[in-house]
Symmetry: C2
Subunit: 445 residues, 2 copies
């Protein structure tokens, strides 16, 4: 019965509320459609700043917003649910709760997730960074390592070396490495009596010959210099062969690690394969210039999940192209609604790339509005401005700005909270202590 | 060897970094002592605002601060650890990590925890509110209930009634009830397409004849009126006899509940009993006028853990007396260090009590600087001012002020994030949906 009332309106179903999905929904906010967006989370996460939640500069609510609060258009409904099946023939999507949704146009923008290269047992030992939950787990482990070291030192006068190992030397790996170095050397400087946090050693293990391989060579070099300046140890051509509690193996070499983080592999959301169309090696859906998988002009694939090639070059899986694909898809659907064909294929307008390395350290390849390769302080300032600008909501911009001011000017981190378990996998406590006799009581200096 | 260097300095050991413990440490920041503070958490939690983290107004970092960042005095060290034994004879405390700490003066201020009256199986079904983790769990459950109801409604056109049951009508129970009502009626008003969040029903089950029983009768009445105004259902003399997934039993009556919260029983930290001295029925340590347990003038019990009677009246387990006991104990220890006896017994300077009920609704018994019973908007304003003032750190005050401004002026809640599991114990999903045939596909209006 309900169907009759809206029989004339086409149903647009968007899966995923990342940059791509949100931009589709925003683009169609005033369109004469019935729009449903489904996401597993109730919030959109501003992923470029997720590492700052992990390293205690920002709070989750600074970079995440309820999807319902972003998409308030009367034609839009939001469901917090998970997709378990897509039937392209009957144009129906089944959700975990049992709900079945019909669509006329389907936009799949469910992004990517970690890939442990088939070694899913590594996941618990080396968390990656994709969700708020991931960020809080990384925060917990990194901060806890210092606390446990202080306890050990207080008791025995020694502690396991504070070696942090980051697997993967892409932007996320570099950001995590720089931030841990900042915490250890700047923000915790005077917080402990027994340990010296600045003795912490951060190592990046990168399998390829270069860190930040998507950047021009001169910026890679500048990034390496800045990492060296922070004391971060970078090892390229280092293929991790095993991850264990307390250490990592690179071939026959055992590298001790109190906290191991994963920033190496990325694979497409499983929805790509579920769809039953052509996917690439990472599970991304191969699409044509209109972002359609072969044979399905009613389906659009946007963001990280899309394998798009323009002039033989693959569009990278980062925020800018995801947003642009979202906007493009919304426009395309509007054309189709008016009965017009889609005229232009998707064009990626490359404004550049940037990655922070630490406080006052960054690299930026600026492609628009002028061309320039920046590094160091200017790149860092550019990074700050761009990221504040792209945050959703005035409230979050204000909050992040205030947090950054405190952290970068006053060396005070606002979100240094350890929540959850107080265990660290593989932490080597001094066993003897538990059986110490009263005569062996340790004392503080 | 390390011992020699500081042999002249007395060792003060503080257990717990709540209001009491922190105030002892602050009071001794300049004293010629060797001070160690031990807490299980790395942060101090401003408990009076914890319910605002639970109900998504504030972020954890707004009301919690790293203990190390608060206590920066050179004579003070902080350990994140747990006490497992206290030996009063040899004056030694053993921590979970194995560390053994000697003390000359011991301050125990480990507060209180939930009491499920021996029914610990209720804990998972009805979380209480003492820690940041508790607050996030309550937030998750409350927000998730609305999302699951929306899914059910979308699919089947009906959903389980959004009944929230709060067991306990003290300040925490009243605050939780009012906040859930605010979320449902004010902050989520236009967020859902299928459900009407304002149909949510909040019920307080209080075992005694009165809510807010520590307040004067006229304020209790005013509180009841304000709760009624918010649509909160208050049932007094309602003894909960069982808590089950999806419902609560009061005698033979079954009360449906999609989310049950616990604000009823409080018991002292187990350290009271571990100490092997006289405790009261709730496990609080019975102390003399100097806050000593009988026969131990080197031990001070502060805050909720202390059973202190002044003129036959027990000092309540809230923030103000805890702070005052902390300050008093620091002064007492300074006297003892100078070889002087402690002259005055502890005196509780009662400034009053206040509890919020919702946006613009509160009760306040003001005892200082003037005597007055306030309720409604004036009480709420007084509450805002007092709580901003007592927050630790300018940064947090600013952050909370901003969040309140957004929430109370613009009806926008900043921290409405669901993290963790997407299951709710006892949630009655529409089973038929899972086996629906394509013909039975549900549609949106």
């Amino acid at each position: 019965m309900q169907d009759l009332a809206t029989a004339e309106q086409k149903r647009v179903l968007i899966l995923g509320a990342g940059f791509a999905g949100l931009n589709v929904a925003k683009g169609l906010a005033d369109a004469p459609v019935n729009l449903t967006l489904v996401d597993r989370k109730n919030h959109h996460t501003f992923q470029p700043l997720l590492y700052q939640v992990a390293l205690a500069v920002l709070s989750p609510a600074d970079i995440a917003q309820p999807i319902r609060a972003i998409l308030r258009s009367p034609n839009t409904e939001v469901l917090m649910d998970e997709v378990i099946a897509v039937d392209k023939d009957t144009r129906r999507v089944t959700l975990k709760s049992g709900t079945v949704l019909r669509y006329d146009y389907l936009v799949i923008a469910t992004g990517s997730t970690h890939s442990y290269f088939g070694r899913d047992d590594w996941a618990a030992l080396a968390p990656g960074l994709k969700t708020i939950e991931d960020a809080l787990e990384i925060r917990r482990r990194v901060l806890l390592a210092f606390e446990l070291a202080e306890n050990e030192m207080q008791e025995t006068g020694q502690h396991p070396a504070l070696n942090f190992v980051i697997i993967g030397g892409g932007p996320t790996g570099v950001e995590l490495a720089g931030s841990i170095s900042d915490i250890a050397k700047l923000y915790m400087k005077s917080d402990f009596k027994h340990i010296n946090p600045s003795t912490a050693q951060v190592t990046i293990l990168e399998g390829s010959p270069h860190v930040l391989s998507m950047y021009p060579e001169d910026l890679q070099k500048k990034a390496l210099e800045q990492l060296a300046g922070l004391g971060v140890n970078v090892r390229t051509n280092a293929h991790v062969t095993d991850v264990k509690p307390g250490y990592v193996m690179v071939g026959d070499e055992k590298i001790d690690s109190v906290v191991t983080l994963w920033a190496a592999g990325v694979q497409a959301s499983p929805l790509g394969k579920l769809l039953g169309v052509e996917t690439d090696r990472r599970g991304c859906v191969v699409v044509d210039g209109y972002l359609h998988p072969a044979g399905h002009e009613e389906i659009f694939i946007c963001g990280d999940l899309a394998h798009v090639e323009i002039d033989g070059k693959q569009v990278p899986g980062v925020a800018q192209p995801a947003m642009q694909m979202g906007t493009y898809t919304a426009e395309s659907i509007k054309h189709l609604l008016r009965g017009e064909p889609i005229k232009k294929t998707f064009h990626y307008f490359d404004k550049g790339d940037m990655a922070t390395i630490g406080r006052k350290a960054a690299v930026a390849r600026v492609a628009w509005p002028f061309k320039a390769d920046l590094s160091g302080f200017p790149a860092w300032i550019a990074w700050l401005i761009v990221h504040i600008f792209f945050l959703i909501g005035f409230r979050n911009r204000l909050s992040v700005f205030r947090s950054w001011a405190y952290t970068y000017l006053f060396f005070e981190e606002g979100a240094r909270l350890i929540t959850g378990s107080q265990q660290l996998p593989g932490w080597q406590t001094h066993e003897a202590a538990a059986t110490a006799t009263p005569d062996e009581v340790s004392t503080k200096p």
